[in-house]
Amino acid sequence: MTTPSSPPHHDRLSPPPFDSELAAALAIVAENIPSSLLPEMIPGLQSGAVLMRPSDDDLRRGGAFEIEERTVPGPEGAPDISLLICRPAGVTGPIPALYNIHGGGMVMGDNRTGIEATLETAQELGLAVVSVEYRLAPEHPHPAPVEDCYAGLVWTAEHAEEIGVDRERIIVGGSSAGGGLSAAVALLARDRGGPALAGQLLACPMLDDRNDTVSSLQMAGLGVWDRTSNDTGWTALLGERRGGPDVSPYAAPARAEDLSGLPPAFVDVGSAETFRDEDVAYATRIWQAGGQAELHVWPGGFHGFDIMVPQAAISQAARAARTDWLRRLLAR
């Protein structure tokens, strides 16, 4: 299907209401983030005006973490990539690690974007965090971003001992585009016989370039990362191929025919966001393929609500659910 131009019967689709606290905060937190992101806005966003970049001190969390930037080989024939490695200070011996892939619609952000919440969880559970810097679209279309992410994962697994990580307990995870890339990396690892992952944490993941679900139509012009923004992001990644017949599942995991044999998945999403239907479908298809998934749909949540409004009651619940899943996963 190509860019459907709001068919008439969808004109009056009423969206689910936002959660009360999220709605009140939306005007304040998202005033710099228009619901609809257009291609010409990408350069401005990449310059970092919107996404606050935590300092090294922020990452150390008062001495709880030791941080290190490592330059490691990228995909074959491609430039090196950078990994931000955050280890709980003073902890020896192999510990589980979260391999973090940042969000930003495939077109913005860096390996520190949104990492503070991840470090908070990691500190609570005693995890290392390895966050990958991948090349961004549109300058670097598919497969550059996902191959960078995969190369970083392979390096992390192969050098696990060197960086004090238990290679049997690496969980890949991320939010939004980072969630989509995490799902793609899990598919790649399966199909290439790569590192065995302990789990995949897909927070409101960006999975489907077709952008034609009911939720994407319902939320057009509303909230954060609406249908237009999604179109902008996918087109940056895929160009003309977006929505067409030959899109790789490693670009858009919703395209994968086979979702069996994947590591246990955690999927969460807001009921009031573009990605709701594709994310629910992805979890459902994992179950249908005999896999394990935990799905949370947070009522009235807009895209990225727990990162943008962490104080809201529903955001606290969403973050607690993620932490609980990690704790259960790692207790095995």
Binding site: P17, F18, S20, E21, A23, A24, A25, A27, I28, V29, L51, M52, E116, I307, M308, V309, P310, Q311, A312, A313, S315, Q316
Partner: protein
Amino acid sequence: MKELAGRLTALDPDAGAAVRVIAYFDRLLETRAGLEALVRGAAVLAGCPARLADEKRGVHIKVDADGRRADDEGPADPAWLSAPLTPDGPPALWLEREGPAGVVDAMVLERAAASIRAVLDRTRGSAPADAAGDQALAEVLLDASASETARLHAARRLGLRPGVPARAVALAGGQALIQSVPPSGAAPPPGDPRAGVGPAVPLLGLPASWSAALVALRLTAEGTEQDPGPRVVHADQMGGLAVLAAAIGPGSDPIPDVHALDRAAAAAPWMLATLDAVASQSSLRTAATALHMHHSTLQDRLAHAEQVLGWSVHGPQGRLRLQLALALRRLHHHAPAAAAVSDRPG
């Protein structure tokens, strides 16, 4: 992206921030947010812990600046920024930060308090704020024959917390007041009527505290020339006077000493106040000071008083006799109220 407070203060404080604070709380009200969301809004917009304490409605909510509920609250610091829920009411919403309030703080307090009031009126009704509603709840709580469930429910509605002792206060005129102990700033009743204060007890023991408070009320006085004495009597300081009170019923005849006091009262306007001072002060010198008169004037007046009474009040025994006569006179004046609240007059 995380600090709402930082975003607000970064805005033009005179216009931008205020407009956003107003819009934030308006939006919460439109979407029928609960009290906790409103208190959390105050905390995250101001960037410091916020708490709501409405004793009358039994509402206690504290939220930290990161939005987490925290109910381990100590007493509120008077230096914190605060706002009442009603124009003349006591402080009920606090930002746990000392003043002076910035533009954003002041706006947050004002809008949060107004929104909280609107939600309280919607969800809990304004009934508990009126005295009749409180009296009905108090009557249930003080009625030993009511079920424990009903009494504990009434306690909760009155803002009493389980595990915190409380006491019943009997006010002249028949009203009952229930206070947690130590009192948490419950406003003193208007006009300070005479009051008998019952002992502090667990919530289910309040009927007994009430009975004792009624006895204590009988021992109070108006504190006027014609009825001198304490306006507030604590039951746990009555000692043997409680036994005396039980002996004086509506049909009891006053003993001659009480008639003697009445005669003395009729003899001179200063008489009863003078005798009360002598009975309650530790010496004649302190009694003279309390009465604002010269020591020798007091001596002259006492000579007159002793003539009318028929006994000397200079010695310990005479003073005890005087104290008992004064107490008996009050007990006769304030006929015993019935034990049950529901039977009380008026």
